[in-house]
Symmetry: C2
Amino acid sequence: MERLKTTKDRHKLLRMPEIGAVTKIESELLRGARKYLEENNFVEVTVPHLTRATGACENIDTLFGLDFFGETAYLSQTGQLYLESLIPLLGNVYCIGSSYRAEPSVDGRHLTEFTLIEIELPTDLEGLMNHIEGLVHSMVTTARDGASKEFQILGIDTKHLKDFPKEFHKITYTDAVKLLKDHEVKWGDDLKSNHEKFLTEHFGGPVFISHYPKAIKFFNMKENAHDPKVVNSTDLLMPGVGESVGAAEREHVFESVHRRLAESPMLRQLEKRGGSIKDFGWYLEYMKENGNVQHSGCGIGLNRVTQFVLSSDDIRTTTPYPQNRESLM
Amino acid sequence: MERLKTTKDRHKLLRMPEIGAVTKIESELLRGARKYLEENNFVEVTVPHLTRATGACENIDTLFGLDFFGETAYLSQTGQLYLESLIPLLGNVYCIGSSYRAEPSVDGRHLTEFTLIEIELPTDLEGLMNHIEGLVHSMVTTARDGASKEFQILGIDTKHLKDFPKEFHKITYTDAVKLLKDHEVKWGDDLKSNHEKFLTEHFGGPVFISHYPKAIKFFNMKENAHDPKVVNSTDLLMPGVGESVGAAEREHVFESVHRRLAESPMLRQLEKRGGSIKDFGWYLEYMKENGNVQHSGCGIGLNRVTQFVLSSDDIRTTTPYPQNRESLM
């Protein structure tokens, strides 16, 4: 596996049997995801990847921009808002495709392009968690059963996949911070990778961390009705990997969406780059005109799940063409 | 269908039942494609979409460029060379994803981003045509049978899908030019949409046009052994739509690949933009070091097939978020 961490001159690795094995495992994970999505009546949506700021995740500063006939377009990081807008017509929807981050680090944790599996559907946080459990279970078991030869080629012991659970542990962010009392985490901080490691080891398996502080999450994650300092979100941590899925109920009433966007750190970042709330024009207009039904959704980082099945501490080992600053080919 | 041609302020259409119907039909076409690919042991490959010139199709001038940490990267138009390089390890491979064209036209024939279904495998032109027939048949019949309600919503008569053939007509480019004797086409010209229309009407169904002039095709399409003026290529024309699939045997010996690239019009275009053969460095190095097995492949324009099933003369009606110069959202 060590050579698979190389991104410079990646073409020199393309005849290694290990590259074939990783590619096959990745394809089985995708097949497992689509199998679950089909069985659960999700409709695939072809979303745009050249977008306005409505294609951004929390971190506006990692957007790739380009000249689009005299305007600035961004390479999208999420299809979320484009998916959400079709729920009233279609119910359960999904997309699988590239997410882009202008992330200069060349290391085992960052890629400039990676695959995101996104679902949006008319349900609440609990219904969403059920689907995440089902999806991840289908991915992991499909790869485990469909690529046993490839795990052998890679010399990977698959005992961590043997009794992969159908249900995952669940804890709130507030309780997680209490568990982390020896780790100098204050309520309001984002969890770091050593905290995530502690928590998955503590529980001995995948664990959902729910109800994060509002200030550190995407603007349309739904405010909790009882405690407006937190949102009805949940992150799934995978053992040895950390955050692999980000999920939440969404605000679906125009006034809430507008207020939350207006007060979001994301909009402050956008303004610093010369943007404004007008960059969310189509989405706000759509919401003002129509509103939406109650719904929830998530993004599953495919390469994180691949890291888990490979027991790999390096994201560059998860795909034949890992993308970062030195890999352009 | 008329309103579905609107790309400006597309968000105003996102509650029209017709948009839901088109999205569902598109998703069924994709499902039909993947069903065939799985049944025929194709492995899905995650290819890069930020590339060097090795992500370009014939027309270098329609590449979107962007600043990638001080270098120029392009938004890829094809994953072909990235797929080809994995055939020796994996055999049949495929990818489905976005293809980008910096095409300023706002009309019924051009999009700046669209979905391309690409396969590459160790076979010859005949084996490839069999797979294209199987793939397109699976797409069309899966959509026909899985989305009958949606065709009704759109008011589309599906009699053209009823006895959709399992085998398509076949003719050489040279014979096609003879058939077009009243259309002022000279041998060596590319076929225009009115020529394609004539040919599909003449045959009354999908038709493969094989063995195009080398000068107007992608550099690594294989030269014909008996007539080096033509390549072992084939384009599939669909009734009412025209070219929907571009396919060919590939050059797989380093010396041939190098010579063909060096003499290609594509390289001349690249040089005019300040590029050089060095932009194909990784691919040439890979081929020099390893060569490849005999293989063939194709790209299926999803939206063209969607146009066929919808009987639509406008590509903007084929997907919920059609992308062109005025659609950025």
